[in-house]
Symmetry: C2
């Protein structure tokens, strides 16, 4: 599982760099699907990952507003900050029973830790696929989605 987190973080970092070639107006422009714009989709990925990881740990949800993170620099800073806590959780993950049932404030159903970790991973990859369409529509090459042939930063190097 942790390799998928490392992959997602690498791809996310490259998309945030990719954003630097566009104006902020273009990044915030309303688009069809996803979370409604390029930057808000990246923000949404980060917000959702962090909320679920906190939820697994029984921690209270931290509400963040996109209006406060509406540039690639601010989104990157949020991502880096949240990731520090997620890395610590993943490093200790062996301690957490995969079948532990988790209840969170934003969903009336309960899920196991294992289901939630799968959900977080698929959630990010799915939204990144959406960015790739918008990228092509802008006539820009998207960031590669390849897992193979990519170097990831290990969670143990944070």
């Amino acid at each position: 599982m942790e390799k998928f987190f490392e992959y997602n973080w690498k791809v996310r970092e490259e998309w945030l760099e990719w954003c630097n070639q566009l104006s902020n107006e273009e990044l915030l422009k309303s688009r069809t699907g996803g979370a409604g714009s390029i930057l808000s989709t990246l923000f949404h990925i980060i917000d959702v990952e962090y909320s679920w990881i906190r939820g697994i740990q029984g921690k209270k949800d931290v509400v963040v507003e996109f209006a406060d993170y509406n540039t690639p620099e601010k989104v990157k800073s949020l991502s880096d900050s949240f990731r520090n806590e997620i890395v610590e959780f993943l490093k200790r993950n062996g301690d957490e029973p995969k079948d532990k049932v988790v209840s969170v404030s934003w969903d009336e159903d309960n899920y196991t830790v294992d289901e939630i970790l799968h959900h977080i991973i698929a959630h990010e990859i799915h939204h990144i696929g959406q960015l790739s369409i918008w990228s092509r529509e802008l006539e820009l090459p998207p960031v590669s989605a390849n897992f193979i042939g990519r170097q990831f930063k290990s969670i143990y190097s944070y």
Copy 2:
């Protein structure tokens, strides 16, 4: 890993059902990004998954042409047929060392079994994200991408 295959197959099945509300012309219409059309993107996912699973096993690649599978029924039939072999591979997967290095005809680099399995999974989720944008552009609700709250057919039930 196998849960992601089960998830991908369930989501793929739902997208193939989703296709039935559109004309074949709409499904084959050229679109920006992905594999160029809705149906060719679904075909591409199936083709790539099967090629890599055969590659891991040292089996010769089976070349399939989209022109021969240009309706949702034919794509579903291809998916079902390839999946039977993939299920058998996944059921035996414990036998395959995850760090075994694999060489395939279509890529000059070598990858481990573990890298390839991650790649196949991310590849499908990424392309499904692309379909969700096209779906919204067609003003149709996309298939849910949620991993949580979904029932999958176990590989052991095939």
